[in-house]
């Protein structure tokens, strides 16, 4: 799997890239905003999946999604919006613009892995009990 990570936070790009590697990504490119992403995409093979933040300088994530959907060779890229924007109407807008999936920050690592699985990018099989994973985040006791 080839991946593109677009987020203006370097820390977030690092975290997302690490999870993508876990999911089996071999080639990961990073961009700090939509404009940079477009420039990156002008060279090399298009990625299979792009993780796109919404609020970024220069070109925001929603505009990037629209741009990716306009160009034939980028249409096959599976897009996951990964953003703090959490309104029902915003999820609808992102999907209408052409994003396939939507993940609201903050999120558990498993949540991103599951979104990738929905898009057909399965994590390499791991032995052990699936339920008692080490990344338990205490989400049900709030």
């Amino acid at each position: 799997m080839r991946a593109l990570v677009v987020d203006d936070s370097r820390a977030m790009r690092t975290i997302l890239s690490r999870i993508l590697r876990k999911a089996g990504a071999r080639e990961i490119r990073e961009a700090a905003d939509g404009q940079q992403a477009i420039e990156l995409l002008a060279v090399g093979e298009p990625p299979d999946v792009a993780l796109v933040d919404w609020n970024m300088p220069n070109m925001n994530g929603l505009d990037l999604v629209v741009a990716l959907r306009r160009k034939a060779e980028w249409r096959r890229i599976a897009i996951v919006m990964v953003t703090t924007e959490n309104e029902h109407s915003q999820v609808v807008r992102a999907l209408a613009a052409g994003a396939h999936e939507y993940l609201i920050k903050p999120f558990d690592e498993s949540a991103l892995l599951e979104k990738l699985a929905i898009l057909g990018f399965q994590m390499p099989e791991e032995p052990g009990e699936p339920e008692l994973a080490d990344n338990f985040a205490g989400g049900t006791l709030s």
Partner: protein
Amino acid sequence: MRVGIGERTSSVPVATEQFRYVQQLVLQRSAIVLAEDKTYLVDSRLAPLARSLGLKDVNGVVDHLKAQRDPRLEQQVVEAMTTNETSWFRDLRPFDALRRHIVPDALKRNAATRRLRIWSAACSSGQEAYSVAILLEENFPELRNGWQVELVGTDLNTEMVRRASEGLFSTLEVNRGLPASLLVRYFSQEGASWRVGRALKARTRFIQLNLVEPWLALPNFDVVLLRNVLIYFDLNTKRQILSRAVRQMAPGGALMLGTAETPTGLCDNLEAVTAEGTVFYRAKGG
């Protein structure tokens, strides 16, 4: 780990002696065996409880239990330890098998009675039951025409049953495996939470049920989802629960276990059916 917020405050890990106390308590109250290597689970699940009680760490919770009998805190500890973090459409493939094989077969078989009953055992906060409700709504519109559809979720934990019935989920919860297109179609927003829609709620009900006690008032089911439940029990209890689950199946009904689970050595009365890259079971001769 959780991404996008600060790391959880670190705490003193549970001491071995304290772990054994929790292990015994959970075993007595729920018949669930906590393996020796699950101390991290005690740390992560009891830490929020320690914080809410103003105690320093998890060891403090156990100290409190040892010092005085506190049935309410005991119950809270057992519930925290037996609660699973669940996702929607967990493992994906079992839901493909439901959609392409199990449900179509059941609809053919029940064409005369026009009744479909599905059981989500150890349902936690209801994600599995609601996932099935979504699957039915998306793929079997004919069920809206005079079919009686009953999805029953049961759990040991009363708080989980209450939460499942309420159908209100946090953002963290809806992030877990629920496709965004289904989130916007079947949920409405309430502040920072998401409420499951009426169409799904109308077909689901949740009741408290301890799998190691008698199963009163449960009907027979066309589909029994007993996924990732047996792993928590000792061998004898596994056998008992599984054979009772088989008796709870309607003729021709299907049973699903967790991806890593098998009835081999537990029950001779089941035959495996492979479909969509997963396995489900039917009663022999059923």
